[in-house]
């Protein structure tokens, strides 16, 4: 994207987009390391490579707006304002985590930030976005809801039901597709007869646009337009972000896998959304390489502190914590 167009966006927003992407990247790289050292138990689905989508989408929202997430939800929570300490503690199953160690990486959430939950069932969060958007319209509070989901989600029934319902009820929802070309370990063209998920939008009666998901400004601008549309009472929109996850569906391997070529992975890594954006920011004289490095260092320090915090945090206690939070007790 040419710098001329970007000049319409304030420096403050550009730096915000950058910061949120770097926050996601550095947290994820650390989480990957800790997972490979078995310090984070269970499955881990890293967001590295897709940062522009979460950042571009969430910068277009207010803190009160809601989002729903996927099994690959760390990036969404960070972009919505999630803090590293309770995130890292949750990854490690500690009682100081966002979910008190009961959810882990796959269910990371903070409802207070309008992040209605990462979800282990593909596509299942999308109907929740429709419900939150229904509540926003019901209360006339002018808030909107953004559902993040992958290309794979659009093949599941719940997605179709939710998209149709959102359009039928004319709700303030933004359907934010992260098309990373693979449904888990299966290439998109093996399980879908269309190339562009956005083609599906018209069938529900909403506009669908395609953006370069490695270009955070493109994502932000599309999200901003869709958010504005939703706030104006003009109903749902779909944005398809063409993106790529650098690591495997789960775990920390990037190369040497049977379902995608190393060459392809390297090509996408060349289009690293953070590197691309930092080059643009430097050209536009918004942020020098040195200034960017300062930001990286500062955030890395915060990540390191979060790891220390998590490792020093207690584990939940089977005697006292197992059966709490199953039900809301009557007040």
């Amino acid at each position: 994207m040419a710098t001329k167009e970007k000049s319409k966006i304030s420096k403050e927003v550009l730096l915000d987009l950058h910061r949120r992407m770097v926050r996601i990247r550095l947290l994820e790289e650390a989480a990957g390391r800790l997972a490979s050292e078995a310090k984070i138990p269970g499955f881990i689905h890293l967001y590295v490579g897709e940062e522009a989508v979460a950042a571009g989408g969430c910068v277009a929202l207010t803190i009160e707006d809601q989002i729903t997430s996927t099994h690959r939800g760390h990036g969404h929570l960070v972009a919505k304002g999630g803090q590293f300490k309770p995130m890292m503690a949750e990854f490690m199953g500690r009682s100081t985590g966002y979910c008190k160690g009961k959810g882990g990486s796959m269910h990371i959430s903070d409802l207070d930030l309008g992040m209605l939950g990462a979800n282990g069932i593909v596509g299942a969060g999308v109907p929740h976005a429709v419900g939150a958007a229904f509540a926003n319209k019901y209360r006339k509070n002018n808030l909107v809801t953004m559902a993040f989901f992958g290309d794979g989600s659009t093949n599941i029934g719940a997605f179709h039901e939710a998209a149709n319902m959102a359009c039928a009820l004319h709700l303030p929802v933004i359907f934010m597709c992260e098309n990373n070309e693979y449904a888990e370990y299966t290439p998109r063209d093996r399980v879908m007869a269309i190339t562009d998920v956005a083609d599906r939008a018209v069938a529900y009666g909403m506009p669908g646009v395609i953006v370069d998901g490695m270009d955070v400004v493109a994502v932000y601008e599309a999200a901003k337009a869709a958010v504005e549309r939703a706030r104006n009472g003009d109903g749902p929109s779909m944005i398809e972000c063409k993106t790529y996850r650098f690591y495997n569906h789960a775990g920390v391997n990037a190369f040497g896998t049977p379902y995608r070529t190393d060459e392809e992975v390297r090509e996408w890594m060349e289009r690293d959304p953070i590197k691309l954006f930092e080059a643009q920011l430097e050209m536009a004289k918004v942020l020098t390489t040195e200034e960017a490095q300062v930001i990286h260092n500062e955030i890395q320090g915060e990540v390191d502190e979060a790891i220390e915090f998590a490792e020093a945090s207690p584990m939940p206690d089977p005697m006292t914590d197992m059966l709490t939070d199953v039900y809301t007790e009557a007040s």
Binding site: Q66, T68, E90, G97, Y98, C99, K100, G101, K102, G103, H107, S109, D110, L111, D112, L116, G117, N119, G120, I121, A124, V126, P127, H128, A129, V130, G131, A132, A133, F134, A135, N136, Y138, R139, T145, G157, A158, E161, A162, N164, M165, A168, L169, T324, D325, V326, Y327, T328, A330, S331
Partner: protein, 335 residues
């Protein structure tokens, strides 16, 4: 339970009790809305929502697409941000269509998200056979639901209980499921005006007795009462316990009754295999094994889908006759 005393007993239908309770709660709480298939303009396939759309408008009584997953998901999302949704699954058989949203989403959110998600969501549906509705519109699937931590499930056996349980469920801050029995929609009972609650997890001793405890679910309470009349002519005095709420379940009342009568028959409309009767029997033997004078008997549907032909369906659903047979079975068995 809080019953308003009235000089004149008002008798209304089960279905009317449902509708007026929704209406009264919606007048009281602007956060309540209803969404489901045909619930709006048409008033629901059983007219259970009749008049509500006219009074509260399309915003609060919402016709949805035929999309059970999204209907439950709509309720979840709206509840997560503070509304108090009532979402309807026309037939209980459709629970399976929406099972991910019910069991993986609604039920688990609070726990998975570390206690922050409070989901004041009520799912209403209709269960039960006897209308010639065949295999996919007649089931009682409570056993599927009581297996899921995080849910609450009620299956009211009469209009009075329906109202009190419905109020409790809608006011509860957890996902609750209210199962109406299709064949009871027209049944009448004394139902006070005004809202009252029947606490969840408190069984009702419908008929005290000394010889055999019959634990009956939903419409089976009716059949058990018929059986009790016939048996009492023979000098057999059965105690009927209606759990009312299946999750949470009032184990204590059932166990106390078992300790008193020493003989138990459990009656439900769902198939015997893996039914709620198995769970109740297990709980009774854990708490009162030494008090039992006979093996616990279950009277339930045979292990087949619900058949269509009235000739088959009539003998498929447990009746007063099959309950009597079950009672005789546990009485004539000496420990």
């Amino acid at each position: 339970m809080a019953v308003t005393t009235e000089t004149e007993e008002r008798v209304i239908r089960y279905n009317e009790a449902f509708t007026e309770t929704l209406r009264d709660l919606m007048r009281e709480d602007p956060d309540i809305f209803i969404a489901g298939e045909d619930v709006g303009r048409y008033g629901g396939v059983f007219q259970s929502f009749a008049g509500l759309n006219a009074e509260f408008g399309d915003e609060r009584v919402v016709d949805t697409p035929i999309a059970e997953q999204a209907i439950i998901g709509l309720g979840i999302g709206a509840a997560a941000v503070g509304l108090r949704p009532i979402v309807d699954l026309m037939f209980m058989d459709f629970v399976m269509v929406a099972m991910d949203q019910i069991a993986n989403q609604a039920a688990k959110m609070k726990y998975m998200y570390g206690g922050k998600a409070s989901l004041p969501l009520t799912i209403t549906t209709t269960g039960g056979a006897g209308l010639g509705a065949a295999a996919q519109h007649s089931q009682s699937l409570e056993a599927w639901l009581i297996h899921v931590p995080g849910l609450k499930v009620v299956y009211p056996s009469n209009a009075y209980d329906l109202k009190g349980l419905l109020v409790s469920c809608i006011r509860d801050d957890n996902p609750t499921i209210v199962v109406l029995h299709k064949k009871m929609l027209g049944s009448k009972a004394h139902v006070p005006e005004g809202l009252y609650e029947i606490p969840l997890g408190v069984a009702n001793i419908v008929r005290p007795g000394t010889d055999v405890t019959v634990v009956a679910i939903g419409k089976m309470v009716d059949e058990a009462e018929k059986a009790a009349e016939i048996l009492s002519e023979e000098g057999i005095d059965i105690e009927i316990v209606d759990p009312r709420s299946l999750l949470p379940f009032d184990t204590e009342t059932v166990v106390q009754s078992a300790k008193k009568t020493n003989r138990i028959v459990i009656v439900h409309e769902a198939v015997r295999n893996g039914g709620i009767g198995a769970e109740i029997a297990a709980q009774i033997q854990e708490e009162a094994f030494d008090y039992l004078d006979a093996p616990i008997a279950r009277v339930a549907a045979p292990f087949s889908p619900v058949p269509f032909s009235p000739a088959l369906e009539m003998s498929y659903v447990p009746s007063a006759e099959s309950i009597i047979e079950g009672v005789r079975g546990v009485l004539h068995r000496n420990a």
